[in-house]
Symmetry: D2
Subunit: 248 residues, 4 copies
């Protein structure tokens, strides 16, 4: 896998800063972003993989940084409201212009996700350490390539339906939990020229991002979402003259 992609893993980083839960430093000594980045590096050793957190200047998401990013991964949970609206505007514009976006777990309530989807993105949840099974339902999709069905996650927070999202472009994974709930855990959307992948497994209390199969899904997601050769411009209104295309 010799791709040279520019990947940015964003994490609010507040759980880590607050050492909450108390064992987060054990399971994620380099932060959730550090674990995700490490997993991606094992797949894309030639890619440029960086991280950023909420506390960084402009949350580490300046115009310059986004312009040089092929795929942005987003993890947030308890500080969604601290993300500045100007930054959300900027990320949205880059997604519409073709930047890939991968939203993870509790990022379902991130401003950028609800902004792009237009729904509440609400769901049912229960933190009871239940076994999650992640089943592939679209094996032809690039994100399912080489992925076990089911992926077995011994302990995880339950996320259940109704997941209030628009109909996805593709439904790739459905999870079940020990308690019987189900969840559309891997779904894709397009907005403008950008490709978006939401994947729910992964939490601050459980070491899910060290699971080799979860790492493979994220690596597949990055490759699918990346459009490195694309001119980065969002669709815009035009007022063409009649027969403007005649010279072609």
């Amino acid at each position: 896998m010799g791709e040279k992609l520019r990947i940015l893993v964003w994490n609010e980083g507040v759980h880590e800063a607050n050492n909450e839960p108390a064992h987060i430093g054990e399971i994620y000594p380099d932060g959730i972003h550090g674990a995700i980045a490490a997993g991606l590096r094992s797949f894309y050793p030639e890619s440029e993989i960086t991280t950023a957190v909420l506390a960084d200047d402009q949350h580490g998401l300046s115009e310059e940084v986004l312009a040089e990013t092929d795929v942005l991964l987003w993890w947030g949970h308890i500080a969604h409201d601290q993300v500045g609206d100007a930054v959300v505007d900027r990320v949205q514009r880059h997604v519409l212009g073709g930047m890939g976006l991968i939203v993870l777990h509790s990022g379902h309530f991130a401003k950028i996700f609800t902004r792009l989807l237009g729904t509440s993105c609400s769901l049912a949840w229960r933190n009871d350490g239940e076994r999650e099974l992640v089943w592939t339902v679209k094996p032809s999709h690039p994100i399912a390539e080489g992925v076990d069905s089911p992926i077995v996650i011994p302990e995880q927070e339950m996320y259940g339906e109704l997941f209030d999202i628009p109909d996805p472009d593709d439904l790739i994974f459905i999870s079940s939990f020990a308690g019987g709930e189900v969840f559309r855990s891997g779904v894709t959307f397009t907005r403008g020229k950008g490709r978006i992948f939401y994947f729910s497994p992964g939490d601050q209390e459980y070491p899910v991002y060290h699971h080799p199969q979860i790492q493979r899904v994220l690596a597949n997601g990055v490759r699918w979402a990346a459009q490195p050769g694309l001119d980065r411009s969002a669709p815009a209104v035009t007022n063409p003259a009649r027969d403007w295309f005649a010279e072609r």
Copy 2:
């Protein structure tokens, strides 16, 4: 609900004829088709609801009968190969022309279903009397109207992914089973002018078709699939002259 629809419930009727399983006469004294028809009658007392079985002449699916049918429900299991190809051709033609079709449970392997879908329609199964939970994931769909989420079915055969179907037009229900498997248990398709609904709960060993919520889903499905005012003709090739529409 004062609709006057013409509804035909088809069942191969072989389990009933063979008294297999031995308790089928207790749970379905009027056959599976009889139970389904009774459920529909409680919703549509003014509709014309009839039944037919494999042993009937032309399987009860003559040209005349189909021409007078708004929605056909299909239950089959162990005799799919005994359904004549000419009858399958005829049913397909009527679906393309606008007749509604509701395929139930083991009907996933019916000739008419694989013919219309183009895939193997294979799945995983296990008959272990597991609890099935049917979760609504598209609450805005007419088939989900007034349906509990989840529907709780105490005992049922497990059907699990991978369910080899094309991407449905709408995914309305996802089931989980006690063993952890999941299944896209309520899905719609369109083929030609016809509307198709597949719904998996319902089996010869369990009294699922007496469940009030399952009856409601089938009643909703019938209303959604019916197009009583439509001219019954399948799309066909045309060779129009330029500007043929100019008179409009």
Copy 3:
């Protein structure tokens, strides 16, 4: 068609107030909203059909009014930015809760539309009085029922691709224009429990809303989008205990 629906036709009403274009009073003596409402009344004589404009208190879109509305139609063009954000929040909440929404023509840039879709909703346009042909591509959809294919509109503003919208749930109509451009002119979306229909024909310069076939499409759209029996509440986050559904 004996439906008793509660239908609200909203128009910014600025073109009419400014008498711009000068002939608007001739083609729409009761305003664009008046023409749309009149068309709907011919289909639903027993329904309650009202109108509201931007200049009304709260733009005529108070909590009380929306709570009593099954379907809201939206026409806007040159005053999108004058629609208050609090009203947009309110309309969005009602759509997520199940109110139907039909967005018309230049409403593609309305705040409520871009809010619900998450994209720029930009397009190409040219006001050259070109013939528009509206072709049905999903004849099984309720909105296509009884609609000619193509609908011929002698003169209309051109709207062309790229129309920057998410993939619709259903693509029902595609238009072509005399200049050769194409446009996805009839598309549906769901957001939360609400059904949304966008339909592009209709403009302040051309008498399109008097066209019988256009009136039929809008009438079909209203019936499709309405869910009069639905509890009006947007999906919300829940935290259920394990086995909460066991009593069912």
Copy 4:
């Protein structure tokens, strides 16, 4: 583009054998298949690109050949009924197992296409040498990468709606013709593990397959449809024991 793919271009080859139309030898001296293959070679010089025709033994589509094919392109027109059913069965099995399939122009009526789609695949047509414009409506799709919108084809047979196909997974291109008709000219489907792309431009009377932009679309389609690393097996029914996945 260093991909090493195994690409097979199939053409019935009857127009060429019959020298009908009389100028086919001028516009396609190496046959339609030869022109398509040449276009692909310019994009994938390291790939193995072969051709086959109806007159070949087993139509050149033996089990051994298909097992070594990543993507099959299919052009047919006047001899669909001469394609043996056993060959169609075999091609379908390989598609369900993951072989890519690209169906071209009049191949809309090929047995393999109607088999996989389940509809009539009928359409409107008129051979009047009309200008076709091919507009991109999903710019984020890999098949649209680097493609002009519109592609201008000076003369082409008209294909118009209603195109009786199931809702595609993705609608990428919509064409308009000088006479005003529109057509969903670039659409994708998945069946089993296989990816299918239908693309309508290209005819025995017009030199469309020499158009650089058409060649680019086909090259993009091949790359999108190919899954060279995939185990070639169609989905099949399974009967797993409870907790079969527990060892993972």
